[in-house]
């Protein structure tokens, strides 16, 4: 409590000093849009010509800049667009919308014509990677499919355990510690099967932002990062289409105005078609094979008037695998409805309603009397409201609240044996997660900007089912005892309530025009957990809410960074160090039973984790060659009572070295080449030291009782790609390009894991097998078009 009072006092003190210093100011506000299609631009810069006052557009393209009375030349700029300057006389609050034209690239000139000088140095943001779709599509991709998640993995501080694993790890956090949002709706599984392709169709993506530290108060619910993906709204000026035919997927996107400049739509579909193509080549036995991935996206937006904007977005995607009597499918569905309301030039509000449905299921129908069916789902309904108050030149205040209602359906399952069927379903679990926050970004002096805020989160595990209590295991690391089963709690009764204050703080100290020092601290709480006790994540991993037995996880992260630009923004450099401590991470007893287990909480263990590292990042933003290099040196480990002799042991995703380089070069007007190379330490693994002979079996044993004490060899891979634009015919609307790529150029057999087994022929002999997911180079050709 003392802690809370101190935070409130600090907040009030700083805030009031900001107010006292203000003079008569007026706000100039409006939207910044793309002149060609009316898309609102996210993160565009609006500033006075001398950059004394500088703001950015928010995720809806809205800006509000506070100026004292006078005449100014206001500069509007954005990466990839021509800068536009407008002279305005400020004597009252007024609205000014702006449209920017995209710049064509001249190979002798700066690639970046629009990004405000030193934006990365000046912004309060630290630990943030923001990528535009042009950068994402320039990275050579597996099978030619540009991929948002793969692009994010080239950023410092982001690692994966290898191909075939879905999810990514940010600053030593687990894959469930990333909040992945598509137009504000959370996505529970961001990859199609086995992590090769993400669920984001690049043709529909407008902006991607990854926040790894210094997480602002408006975000919460996950410990390690926020991946905020925004979809395009749809061309408001003219009908447009784009798509591609690739080796695995084909895509088609159509967008256009419903009412010019007022309302527009965008619909996109993407489907893999390996199964259709392979049919003629497979024998009769395989005719029933189903194997496809798909993504469908749709969005409609309507600008009622200058102050009101409405959006409805929907996404549905998933995978289907099946043959003969067996099928497996999983998918995400999200729907968001949003309303932007501008009260006046100083106050912007957004209200959002979100529905999500994540599910997976098996259906095995051997014959009439024998079969098995399993469906597992998470449904959630969320309402949130966010308000931004552009108080004055020195203060921007944000506040908001949200509530998320969860229905967890761990298993709806039946099986039948010789005509006798049985229901082995597990009752639904209900929970409500709510939060409220307030934050101020304050320019304290010319050199010092602070962002400070407090988020309060409240979580309730509800009843409406049997509630059982688990006592800590009788043997450390063993299954816990179940003591007490209570059926009295109703659907809306709170069985267990958790609440947490999550202070958030960032500071930016300007050292010079081109360099700054940034620091941040954040505390985050996570109330839902992904249970996965397999080596890599699998599509049937189970999300589970915190309960009276499973406590929420909490993390505290400190980060410190130095940002510096060289040669007038041609080179951007940053170095950041972080330290993160996490409490109540979930771990498992040996042989834990995760699937269809009512008493799953007795198979779980609780531990602490810590991660620290230093990240280096250099970006060359202009010139013939562009690209970036990132290198992270880090460590992530955990301590769980009963595992590994009660010593700290490395997390499964600990990769001490992680190095990435991406280079792009335009070699002619129509052709550009790209090269990427990555090197990362191998992941830790548990290997046996001894063998036990029982019943003629050879059972592996680690006599030292250590976990993850070995490391597989390092991972490294190079990819190359080329994009060849079709001849530019100004009279024809149809434009095309061919994308060539080779993934894993020198065909390295990167080990994903090692396993040990008895030799088939001589079972007394044991051997170590190195398993690689991708063991050869993979070329591809994709044909993209737009009209």
């Amino acid at each position: 409590m003392n802690y809370l009072i101190k935070t409130i006092c600090l907040f009030t003190l700083i805030f009031s000093s900001g107010i006292l210093l203000s003079q008569e100011k007026y706000n100039l506000s409006g939207y910044v849009r793309d002149a060609a299609n009316g898309e609102e631009l996210i993160g565009a810069t609006v500033s006075t010509a001398d950059f004394e006052v500088i703001v950015s557009t928010n995720v809806y393209g809205f800006y509000s800049i506070s100026l004292t009375a006078g005449t100014y030349e206001i500069a509007y700029s954005f990466i990839g667009y021509n800068e536009f300057k407008k002279t305005v006389t400020v004597s009252e609050n007024f609205t000014l919308d702006m449209e920017l034209t995209s710049s064509s690239v001249n190979i002798d000139e700066a690639l970046v014509t629009g990004e405000a000088e030193n934006k990365n140095v000046k912004d309060i943001d630290m630990s943030v990677s923001e990528m535009d779709i042009a950068t994402i599509t320039s990275i050579p991709a597996l099978l030619g499919e540009a991929d948002v998640i793969r692009a994010v993995q080239t950023m410092p501080g982001v690692t994966t355990v290898g191909e075939g694993a879905s999810g990514f790890n940010v600053r030593g956090g687990g894959i469930d510690e990333n909040l992945i949002l598509i137009d504000e709706a959370p996505v529970y599984n961001s990859s199609h099967l086995f992590g090769f392709f993400s669920v984001f169709n690049p043709d529909v993506v407008k902006n991607v932002k990854l926040i790894k530290g210094g997480i602002p108060s408006e975000y919460g619910g996950r410990l390690s990062s926020i991946l905020d993906v925004r979809m395009k709204d749809g061309n408001k000026k003219e009908f447009q289409g784009q798509g591609g035919i690739g080796s695995i997927f084909s895509r088609l996107t159509l967008e256009g105005p419903i009412k010019k400049d007022k309302a527009s739509f965008i619909v996109a579909a993407r489907r893999s078609y390996i199964d259709i193509l392979a049919k003629p080549f497979l024998g009769d036995d395989f005719q029933d094979v189903k194997f496809n991935f798909y993504d469908l996206t749709g969005k409609v937006n309507w600008r009622l008037n200058d102050n009101n904007n409405f959006f409805i977005s929907a996404y549905k995607g998933g995978d289907v695998i099946g043959f003969d009597f067996f099928s497996f499918k999983w998918g995400n569905t999200t729907t968001t409805a949003r309303w932007n309301h501008i009260f006046n030039n100083k106050v912007f509000m957004n209200v959002t309603g979100i529905y999500t449905d994540y599910q997976y299921g098996f259906d095995v129908q051997v014959d009439d009397g024998n079969g098995f069916k399993l469906d597992s789902r998470i449904q959630s309904v969320q309402g949130k409201a966010d308000l931004t108050f552009f108080a004055n030149q020195l203060n921007t205040i944000k506040m908001g609240a949200s509530s998320n209602f969860y229905d967890f359906i761990p298993a709806e399952a039946t099986f039948a044996s010789e005509g006798e069927s049985n229901d082995i379903s597990i009752d639904k679990k209900y929970a409500v997660e709510s939060a409220a926050y307030i934050q101020n970004e304050q320019r304290v002096t010319d050199r010092l900007t602070l962002q400070y805020g407090l988020r309060f989160s409240l979580y309730q595990y509800l009843g409406g089912r049997s509630v059982y209590t688990v006592e800590e295991g009788e043997t450390a690391g063993g299954q816990s005892e179940i003591t007490g089963i209570d059926n009295s709690a109703g659907r809306w009764d709170a069985v267990q309530t958790y609440s947490n204050f999550e202070p958030r703080f960032s500071a930016n100290l300007s050292l010079s025009k081109t360099s700054s020092l940034k620091a941040s601290y954040n505390r985050t709480a996570q109330y839902i957990h992904l249970l996965s006790n397999t080596v890599g994540s699998s599509p049937v991993d189970v999300w589970t809410p915190s309960t009276n037995n499973i406590k929420p996880s909490m993390a505290d992260q400190l980060a410190l960074g130095y940002f510096r630009n060289f040669k007038s923004n041609e080179y951007q450099f940053s170095a950041e160090a972080y330290y993160k401590e996490t409490q109540n991470v979930v771990d498992y007893i040996n042989g834990a039973d995760i699937l269809i287990n009512e008493f799953i909480e007795a198979d779980l263990l609780r531990g602490d984790a810590r991660a620290f590292g230093i990240e280096f990042y250099v970006k060359k933003a202009k010139g013939n060659y562009t690209g970036w290099i990132s290198y992270t040196l880090s460590k992530t480990e955990r301590l769980v009572n009963g595992i590994s002799n009660n010593d700290w042991f490395p997390n499964r995703y600990d990769k001490p070295h992680n190095f990435n380089i991406n280079i792009n070069r335009k070699i002619s007007e129509r052709t550009s080449l790209s090269l990427s190379f990555m090197y990362a330490s191998g992941t830790p693994s548990t290997f046996p030291t001894n063998r036990i002979n029982v019943q003629g079996w050879v059972i592996p044993q680690n006599a030292n009782n250590e976990r993850n004490s070995f490391r597989v060899p390092a991972y490294h891979r190079a990819d190359v790609g080329a994009i060849i634009e079709g001849k530019d015919r100004p009279d024809k609307k149809w434009k095309s390009q061919v994308v060539l790529s080779v993934y894993n150029l020198y065909a390295r057999k990167n080990p994903y894991l090692f396993y040990f087994q008895q030799n088939e022929v001589t079972p007394q002999t044991t051997e170590a097998i190195r398993y690689s997911v991708v063991a050869s180079f993979i070329p591809s050709v994709t044909y993209n078009f737009n009209f």
């Binding site: 193509l277 082995i424 080596v535 040996n590 548990t686 001894n690 063998r691 044993q701």
Partner: protein, 289 residues
Amino acid sequence: MKSSIFNTLSILILVMVFLSSCEDVVDVDLSNGSPQFAVDAFITDHKNPEIKLSLTQDYFDDSGADYLEDAMVSISDGINPDYEFTFEDGAYRYPSIINLEEGVEYKLSIISGDNTYEAVSSVNPVPTLDSIGVEFQESVFGFDAGYFAEFFARDIAGREDFYWARYSRNDTLQNNPSDLIISQDAAFSGNGADGLIFIPPIRQGINDFSRIYQPEEFIHVELWSIDETVFNYLNQVVEQTGIGGPLAIISAPTYNVLSNITLISGPSELDPVGIFSVSKVSTIDYTFE
């Protein structure tokens, strides 16, 4: 024209991706671990009891188990006099079948050197094996035509049971540790399978689908009752010896399987591993025509 080029390329690429994952046998340098005391004690009411004791070896040591012969081994049931075992021909043996009483807890005691080990396990009932069902299968996916078999039995209703089905083919015990057939009631695990006929995946576990039964082959199927600890042990054995292949990605991580043997007294330089189990057994035989 363009589309057929893309089609062909797509197939080639797909084939390359899915064939491109690979497994290689490699040399790995494992660190050394100190040896442990391994107990292999599966007692049934079907055969003369046999218990093997050995020390664990380095993982890649394939010279065969080194069986200990100077320990004192006995089993007690708290009712009858203790059953004393004598070492003969590589194992500790008792000269006749022990009549296992349902519901009784049996205790195994081992004195080896300065250490005394003990383990307990209880006897559970086992249903009869009613029949073997046989179906002729045409040649499919390039494999030979032949028979596949399934055993029919019904789980004992009204109680939580654990079973282990073992079978020999032409007098050779089919003993691949990652293919052990174990069940909780009539299904793999969890509730809801009480009193049912064993579900298809379990009763069809007695087939090797790459080499299905040909006429004149014969099988001998045994159904053993086990207790929950032994069930967990066998599950862990399956998990730890079955990691591999394309499903390696979603396999469980390596851990040490449990043991129900405990060190009662003595310096604990040799930690116990292994298992003690007492089972009632039902059997059935079948010859393919």
